[in-house]
């Protein structure tokens, strides 16, 4: 009884109903794919034919004339974000690209495109059902894009196609690991850094297979990475990671072409630390601040964590250096994995030290906010 009395306090339900109450969407395109047989991931523009109708509070057709906003989740809308309805109906094509997994279009009453009409929106929203069903992108499909500081899934929660690929751990760092899709050719955008904040799980070893990988897709200092990842390491046998890709130290004309090698293991041979590397030289000052030093005309090496005792000097000959190729804004920096990745000509300083693991890309030591995890 008490419950009943207490529950019967006056209640404000709503003050006014704005129509339309519902948006009902019918997909007219036939081939939508399915979870079992998804459409191929594509960056091409795809039209999806839809019929959009507005309904009133009773679920009956409502003769709405005005605009609805459109968006695609996940993916990119390739047309204006507004459609116009007349007498409660729109029928036409909506263009989109870069959908992956179950992909739906949203149609929402958020007011008119011309806000000066002053029409009060109802925020009624409908989505396409069934969804378009696209395959997850491979690493290469996700990474390949003209804008070197972006990727095809920028701003999305990414899921990488791994189960039917051969995605392998190529290197392990103190707060993340690098992966390579071995099914693709070297240098074909098939590498990625996975940022785990702390040391990756014990089963994450060089050569182990990743069978599931999701994470928050972010560009960090110019390099693509997955943060806060969920991943599964398969029980497949370990394999040898790919051999380093040999690149030319003088390949400065088109640095953007190196994008395909971002996060891959590369090798540069027969280079010299520039003669002017000292004093007020800009590269030298950057080295003092951040730890990376120049080789050749346009590359850098950061041995700060993995070979901390090694100090480069002007004119020093380097028979070879290899490591993970990392983009930091407009610079390409090699991160040696261990002392064996750096060879120094006779007479130079020793390139050896304790076995310390590399920082992630873009991480001059701990430039990632150390975070404010559990509080005291």
């Amino acid at each position: 009884m008490l419950l009943t009395l207490l529950a019967c306090a006056p209640q404000k339900i709503a003050t006014e109903r704005v129509e339309p109450t519902f948006v009902y969407v019918t997909v007219l395109t036939e081939d939508l794919g399915s979870a079992e047989s998804p459409l191929a991931f594509t960056t091409d523009v795809v039209p999806l034919r839809v019929r959009v109708e507005t309904l009133d509070v009773d679920g009956d057709p409502y003769p709405f004339t005005g605009d609805l906003s459109v968006k695609v989740r996940p993916g990119i809308l390739e047309q204006e974000k507004w459609i116009s309805l007349s007498e409660g109906v729109f029928e036409g094509d909506i263009e989109l690209r870069n959908g992956f997994g179950p992909t739906r279009l949203w149609f929402s009453d958020e007011g008119d495109k011309d806000s000066s009409t002053g029409r009060q929106p109802s925020f009624a929203t409908g989505v396409t059902d069934p969804p378009l069903y696209y395959a997850l992108p491979t690493l290469a499909e996700m990474n390949e894009i003209e804008d070197v500081e972006s990727n095809q899934l920028a701003g999305e929660f990414a899921e990488i196609r791994a189960l039917d690929r051969d995605v392998r751990v190529s290197a392990v760092g103190v707060n993340g690991y690098w992966i390579t899709d071995m099914a693709d050719e070297p240098g074909s955008y098939n590498n990625l850094f996975v940022y785990t904040f702390s040391k990756p799980s014990d089963e994450t070893l060089v050569g182990s297979r990743v069978t599931l990988l999701t994470g928050s897709n972010q560009e960090y200092l110019g390099s693509t990475q997955l943060s806060f990842p969920t991943y599964v390491i398969g029980d497949d046998e370990l394999v040898t990671p790919p051999e380093p890709v040999l690149i030319s130290a003088s390949n400065c004309a088109d640095l953007a072409s190196l994008e395909g090698l971002e996060s891959a293991i590369v090798r540069i041979e027969d280079v010299t630390v520039p003669a002017g590397f000292s004093g007020t030289d800009e590269d030298y000052l950057d080295y003092v601040d951040y730890g990376q030093w120049p080789i050749g005309d346009c590359f850098y090496v950061d041995n700060n964590v993995t070979i901390p005792d090694f100090v480069p000097t002007a004119g020093l000959e380097i028979p070879y250096v290899q490591g993970i190729l990392n983009q930091v804004f407009d610079k390409w920096i090699l991160l040696p994995r261990d002392p064996d990745d750096l060879s120094v000509a006779a007479g130079g300083p020793p390139a050896s030290s304790g076995p310390r693991m590399p920082d992630p890309p873009g991480e001059f030591p701990h430039s990632h906010a150390p975070g404010e995890p559990c509080l005291p």
Partner: protein, 602 residues
């Protein structure tokens, strides 16, 4: 405003304090149950069923007979798509007033740009939240806890300003988090019962089993879960309170007056009750931390959304976790800390007779700074003005106590010792009357850099406000004697804990130098004031009373029987040290500089 009085063993219906907003309505709650074995039905299921049925009957009766304000027809949603908007905040930590801050590159990537005059502030958050709710239909504002502790306004007013301003923001519900207890359980009750216009949720705390008097109080101000009815859409919200940071909560006879219910059991139990009441969606508002949130999304089929906090991470795009049993894709959202962001999650729900299914979601994170929010909310500013006036008169927060000639950082650049960490530990150890051989304090007791926006060549006047923002905790210096083996155990623990946090040292030290081996989770090459650690020796330690009581897992200190709490405030110790030194850092005398006393090895 009255307290929330309801019969014991039953949950309130339309509980307690007068709400500042008429929305949402239809509060229905079942009994706060005791712990039952995992699985359903539990022994109390009949009671719950009756309670739920009673509540449903009550609602039905109300819908028919009770006059409502301009009641309009509630739509039948079955078979339709509807949109739900959730504004969410977390870990505000008393940053009600804007503050100086140096955004990291990660912050920049999330839209929090460098160069703003100041950052954060509850009036800016409120402006954004009210604007976004005006641009949404069905909406809720949920807060994932820890609105208390972190600035002087909490030290002075004990959370009153936080509760009042959040209420005026229109907050619907918040979860109880660890820092809500920082001024005591009774204080939480007092603040909530006097000032709250929102619901306080915690399904995994059982207050009934305790004899502590404040256990009853906590029960009165909280609910395990609540059903919100939003224009026909029924959203069940379950509170998941923090466990990991409340070391006293897991003691057998803990002083919190709380018995912990395993989270999975609590979620399934409350979800069952909410579903019985007709919930279309089940949302968890959580302060358990990201790892637990992911685990719950993956393992518990009843959940549809998780609004999380505790780890101070802002994640955009948010995580989507696939539930292993149902294949449902569960958005897990976190919006960071210190009033830097407000998150907006939109979901489209397909409603059926059996409940709702989230078909799609969309997310936006709003950065809070002078650059991004030009005008704060005037209602909130009026409330804050009362408190600011008192603070100004009482503390003269703008008084200068020293000068920073470069930014004083709380984290070491290499993950080891830090400028502020070394300075604090030195100050504790050498304070008159303390004067111990060594000092250890937890890194996270220092909450922000000082002189964050300091440009090269400039100086920064260190004010009392800076000190409170950096050291908000009212902790005191505690001394104790440790054997050499206990020192080894203490530093091993620091290494182990740090290894789980990116090898960033979780403690700062004085009189100690050691190698923090994160690979093997061991402390090596330990020197005490220049001499190798003698495992059979005895050392006097200065630390803070928080970790002395076992906080953050320092159980090897908690069991020490030689503890002596000096009662000396660590903030006062540091203030005196700053005033003495005045210009910081002083590299010539090794003051407030990183000197490598903690060497991390990865």
């Amino acid at each position: 405003m009255g307290t929330w009085a309801e019969p014991r063993n039953s949950r309130p219906v339309n509980p307690g304090p007068a709400r500042t907003r008429g929305w949402p309505v239809g509060a229905i709650a079942g009994p706060r149950t005791a712990r039952y074995p995992r699985g359903f039905p539990s022994p109390g299921s009949l009671v719950r069923t009756i309670a739920a049925a009673s509540a449903l009957l009550a609602l039905t009766a109300c819908a028919q007979f009770i006059p409502t304000e301009k009641q309009v027809e509630v739509p039948a949603l079955a078979g339709q798509d509807v949109r739900l908007t959730i504004l969410h905040t977390s870990d505000i930590h008393s940053r009600l007033l804007p503050y100086q801050f140096d955004p990291s590159f990660t912050d920049n990537g999330l839209g929090l740009a460098d160069g703003a005059t100041d950052y954060g502030g509850i009036s800016r958050m409120a402006a954004v939240i009210k604007r976004e709710r005006a641009e949404a239909g069905r909406s809720l504002h949920l807060d994932s806890g820890d609105c208390f502790q972190g600035a002087i306004i909490f030290n002075e007013f004990q959370g009153e300003a936080e509760v009042r301003t959040l209420s005026a923001t229109g907050l619907d519900a918040a979860v109880i988090a660890n820092h809500e207890f920082d001024a005591g359980a009774h204080n939480l009750y007092a603040q909530m019962s006097s000032h709250a216009g929102y619901d306080l949720l915690a399904a995994n705390y059982d207050f009934e089993s305790s004899e502590e008097p404040w256990s009853n109080e906590l029960e009165r101000i909280s609910l395990p879960s609540k059903l919100y009815e939003l224009d026909g859409l029924r959203v069940g919200v379950i509170g998941l309170a923090n466990l990991s940071s409340l070391n006293s909560i897991s003691d057998e006879d803990n002083s919190m007056g709380i018995t912990v219910i395993p989270a999975e059991q609590a979620i399934r139990q409350e979800a069952w009750i909410l579903k019985a009441q007709g919930a279309d969606l089940i949302v968890a508002v959580s302060h358990m931390g990201l790892d637990d949130d992911i685990e719950h999304a993956r393992d518990i089929p009843e959940l549809d959304l998780i609004i999380g906090g505790h780890h101070h991470v802002a994640i955009d795009p948010p995580l989507v976790v696939t539930n292993e049993e149902t294949g449902k894709r569960i958005p897990v959202v976190h919006s960071g800390a210190f009033a830097k962001f407000v998150g907006r999650l939109d979901v489209v729900v397909r409603v059926s007779e059996d409940g709702g299914e989230i078909l799609s979601h969309s997310y936006e994170l709003f950065p809070i700074s002078s650059s991004t929010v030009s005008q704060g909310d005037s209602e909130i500013e009026d409330i804050l003005e009362e408190y600011v006036d008192v603070l100004d008169q009482t503390y003269r927060l703008d008084q200068v106590i020293g000068v920073a000639t470069e930014k004083l950082t709380r984290y070491g650049s290499l993950g080891g010792d830090s400028m502020l960490g070394n300075f604090t530990a030195e100050a504790m150890r050498s304070y008159p009357g303390v004067e111990t051989e060594i000092a250890v304090t937890n890194t996270l007791g220092i909450r922000s850099d000082i002189g964050a926006n300091l440009e090269e060549g400039e100086t920064w006047d260190i004010t009392l406000d800076d000190l409170f923002n950096s050291m908000p905790f009212d902790n005191t210096v505690t001394t104790m004697f440790l054997s050499g083996r206990e020192v080894q155990e203490l530093l091993d623990y620091v290494s182990e804990r740090s290894s789980e946090r990116g090898c960033n040292s979780q403690a700062q030290v004085s009189g100690i130098r050691f190698t923090m081996n994160c690979r093997d989770k061991l402390a090596e090459e330990i020197f005490i004031n220049g001499v190798p650690l003698n495992l059979d020796g005895t050392y006097e330690l200065a630390t803070n009373n928080y970790i002395a009581h076992g906080g953050s897992g320092f159980s090897m200190l908690e069991r020490n029987t030689t503890q002596f709490d000096t009662g000396i405030s660590i903030r006062d110790v540091v203030r005196a040290a700053i005033t003495d030194q005045y210009y910081l850092p002083d590299p010539d005398n090794n003051v407030a500089v990183e000197d490598g006393r903690i060497q991390p090895v990865f």
